[in-house]
Structure formats: C-alpha cells, structure tokens
C-alpha cells in the first residue's frame, strides 16, 4: 500500500465574495488530504459542505483563495492564465464526470465525435487510431458501436452517463473525479454504473475521487472517506470504520438519517 501520493491537498481555502449585503462565504475552509495512486476516496457531505468546490479546484474549474493542490507531484498554482499546452497536460492527469448527464453533453454533437475529439486533442491520433480507440472506449463503458452515431437526446440518462465516463477516460487520466455521478440515475441503472466503475478500476488502476452525499453508494465504491461539513473535514478514515463506528456526532447524524427498513424519521432536537 506504499503507493505514491497522486493528489495532495494542503490547507485549501476558498472564499466566495458576498454580494448585496450578504457576507462572504468560506466554502472550503482549511481542507487537507492525500489520495494515493490506485485509491478510491470519497468526499461526503451535505449541500454547502464544500465537497464539490474542493473537487472543482482540483480539476481547475475554480481558483482557490489559499492553500495548495498538487496532482501527480506537480503543484497547480492558481494562476489566472494557463497555457493550452499546460491545460491539456493537466487534462491527462485529472478528469471529472458531473452529476447531470443531460447538461454535460453537447446536444448537437454525436457520441462518437464527442469521445474521439478528446482522444485526438490529447494524443494526436489519426483516423484509424481514433476509430480503434473509440471502439475500445465504447466497449469499456458498455455501449454498442451503433451508439457512436447517435445524438445525446436519443440516449437514456444511464447511457449518457456512460458516454460522459468514456469522454473522461479518453484522456487517459490518472485521477477521475466523480461529482455525484450516479445520484441522478434510477436505482437499477445506478447499480450498473457503479459496477462499470469497479470494472474500469480493476482494469486500469485508475484513482477515484468521489463526491457524494449518498452513504450507501460511498460504502460500495470507496476505500477511504472524508466527511465534510461547512467547509471543514470533520472525520476521516477507512470507509468501513467511519460508517460502522463513526467518531464524530455529525457522521452519526448522517448515518441515522438514511432511510432503511425499520427506520423511523425523527426530528433532531433543535
């Protein structure tokens, strides 16, 4: 287990400015953690906990106010301008899959073109290589060849999410961030996508960073969990330990709130 750290986050802080009389908000407030190569780590928390903001800073969609992020041993400075070459290099380090497969695909771009575009940009493949790579990626995510010529609107939510995963994998990232990637899916489809992610991990030794509010999903996919609340990490540890013997009262509250057979909803004492 002495794998090298793939992602290092140190004292990360993100402050969103206030507007119209509202005070500024520290969405992420001193978060530090390390993800080792091949690990699957989950950031768990409710809305406003800062889990998504943390993930967006890691892939470079937000700039941190303070703190450091290194991916593959290279620090990602919060520079205002990053060269295209550098941005592409970063794209081969970390990719992200979003929650809503209905808004994350271009409605006018065929599936095959969306996937090969990524492969071509990053690896300069020729036509034949592109076709081979496309066939390989479609197969990896459980789509048929006919899907390549389809537009997103003809696909179901589960199929779209498979496409989004294929697009991310096309850049051959070492870190894949999944921001609530199965939350919008039906139960029977969710299980299929979770198994797909497990297959990909087994085959490629890819590293996962899950962002999720769903403790059952987290238990299924993550080795390690960080529980976040109001921008801070309140508890961290191996998934089984954290979910079976939570140390922090907030983790306990989260666990108690999950509906299950025999569960009765209770009103927390205000």
């Amino acid at each position: 287990m002495a794998a090298e750290p793939l992602l290092e986050v140190e004292s990360l802080r993100k402050v969103f400015p206030g507007h119209r009389g509202h005070p500024e908000v520290a969405a992420v407030d001193g978060v530090s953690f390390t993800v080792r190569e091949g690990e699957a780590v989950a950031l768990v928390g409710e809305s406003g906990s800062g889990k998504t903001t943390t993930a967006r800073i890691v892939v470079g969609l937000e700039r941190q106010t303070a703190g450091e992020v290194s991916v593959c041993g290279r620090p990602r400075e919060p520079a205002a301008r990053v060269t295209t070459r550098e941005r592409r290099r970063r794209g081969r380090e970390a990719q992200i899959v979003f929650q809503d497969p209905y808004s994350s695909l271009d409605p006018c771009q065929k599936i095959g073109s969306a996937i090969t575009e990524v492969a071509r940009l990053h690896f300069g493949l020729d036509r034949a290589e592109c076709a081979a790579r496309l066939a390989d990626l479609l197969d990896q995510v459980g789509l048929r060849e006919q899907h390549a010529s389809a537009l997103p609107r003809t696909l179901s939510g589960g199929e779209r999410q498979r496409v989004a995963i294929a697009c991310a994998l096309a850049a051959e990232p070492r870190l894949l961030i999944l921001d609530e990637a199965v939350s919008a899916l039906d139960v029977s489809i969710q299980a299929q996508i979770l198994n797909l992610l497990a297959d990909v991990r087994e085959r490629t030794r890819i590293t996962y960073l899950f962002v999720s509010h769903d403790l059952a999903v987290v238990r299924q996919v993550a080795d390690r969990v960080l529980v976040m609340r109001a921008g801070r990490v309140v508890e961290e540890g191996p998934t089984q330990r954290v979910l079976d013997q939570p140390q922090d009262p907030y983790t306990q509250l989260l666990l108690d709130s999950v509906p299950r057979p025999g569960w009765k909803p209770t009103r927390a004492i205000a």
Binding site: E46, G158, D186, A191, N195, A216, G262, R267
Partner: protein, 332 residues
Amino acid sequence: MSGLLRLEHLQVRLPIDGEPRTVVHDVSLDVSPGEAVAIVGESGSGKSTTLRAVARLLPPGSEVRGEVLFSGESVTAMGGRALRQLRTGGIGMVFQDARANMNPVRRVGDFLVEALVTNLGQSREEASRRVASLLQEVGIADPERRLRQYPHELSGGLLQRVMIAAVVAMEPRLILADEPTSALDVTTQAEVLALLDGLRRSRGMALLLVTHDLELAAAVCDRTAVMYAGSLVEEQRSALVHEAPLHPYTAGLIESSPHSAHGARRLPVIPGRPLSGLEVGVGCPFADRCAHVRAACRVATPPLHAVGAGSVACLRAEELLASGLEGVANGC
C-alpha cells in the same frame, strides 16, 4: 367500502407531440382514511402522472379512463366548483420543488394567509395568528420574521416546511406528496418526513406518497405499491416488501440497491433499463429484464391478482414465492 380514495383501472393518455399516448396503463389502488400508502417506481413508471390524475392536475388534452373516486365521488366527472372544493378541503398536494410552486414576488406570509382567507373565510388577523402557530408547529423558529420574507430568502428545507404548513392549514383528508424530500439533504429529509408523518397522524390525514426510494416508502407508509412502465406490479404491506417481495422487479430493485449490499465487490444488476409507459407492447412489461421469464409472459399482460396479503401482476408469482424470489438480478 370505506375507502377514502379509490382508483379503478386508471388509464391516462397524455398529449405527446400532439398525439395522445398512454403513459399510465392500469392502476387500481385504495387508500383508507388515515392510511399512508406509497407509490414507488423509477423514472417513466407513471407514478407522478397517477398522483396528478387524483388531483386533476394533468395537462390540457389528457384523457383519463377508469375511475378516480374520492369518498365515493368521481373526481373525473367533477365540474369547476366541486373541483375547487376537492382541492381546498379534500386533498392537499406537496410537490418536490417547493420553490417552483410558490410565487417568487410575494411574501411567504401572503402565500399562507391568502389561502386561509379565500378558502376558509377567515379574517386576515385570525389567519395570520393561525399561520404563525402553524409555522412553529412545522419547526420554523421565529415565524414572524419568516412570514415577512420572500421564498428566495429561505432554504429548500424551510420552504418545504412552509409548503407542508400550507397544506396542513387546510385540514385536508388526503395529502398527495410527490417526491417531497428528494431535493433535500438527508438530515433535512429525515426532519421533513418526521414532520409530515407526525402532523398527518395527529390529524388523521391519509397520505399518498410518490417516491423512487423503497426504503423511504417502507419507513413512512403502511402499504407500498410498486409501479413499472405505467402499471401497478405489486402492492402489499410495507413491512413485508423487503422481506418477501412479490414481483421479480421489486426483488431486483432491492437486490441492486447499494443499501443491501454489504461489502460485495459488484452489485447484482437488473439488465437493461426501465421502460416508460409509452414503450410497452404486448405481454408483461418487465419480461425483457426478468430472469424468470417464460414464453407465457410475453403473450398477455399479467393481471394484478391477490397473493397472500398483497397483490401482484406476475404470472409466476405463487410459484416464485414458494421457491424464494432470489437471483433476479444478476451480473451485467
């Protein structure tokens, strides 16, 4: 026949691209006074359309066949005045997105008070007092301040509480709730459900809850009905659904939920994707995904029939129940 709500072979056709198409095929369901019943299903199963048909909230051009009876009266035949009476006193509805169902340019207080003034004929002062005490009852501290605020100033959880207060204020006999907590955080969800459950019980209101979450349904409802592709496929006591599901689809849903898998590396999976009511052909709509399918399943749509204390629409239900309904979901 003491049923409060009775659906008899409800069929709903919605206008899609100008053509009426069948979204709900066959739903028969009873809700007794004070009882909580859940309709569980995946997207496209027709669960929300069924609920909307009860309140006559379907889009123009929809066709409803079968019967919807509320305390013996046909909802489908109601005219304007009767319908207004039904919606203001008989049934109340809680939607998933409270924000989308409130006027954004009017204060929370106006929203609540206006309903009491117009529908119950109370004076403004009387209604304001009543509303403030209701807000306190739904767990909102400082109700006076909240009443002066606009919807955008309140969080989703608070707005859903306001929505529940608005519904409870009318003292309906039946609450229709369409995924009332799906957009909320788990801890807020637990509170809002506890609230809804408590208020409902103390006032003897019945509840018809639509959700995609079998666990949640089991937790707050006496009975659970499962819908698939526009038809009811199973209905029985919630306590039994997880232990002894009657339909292969229900069994598959339970098995493929990460809630039930402790430590397994792969989840059991129902192959394929859920069908919507629009895509249904001849035979059992679940046949193509079912591990127990036989030639007979594809010939005619299996009718809902009584098995044990519940009912199920599966030709092989008795046989499968005897042998234990397992291994429905398998590797993909």
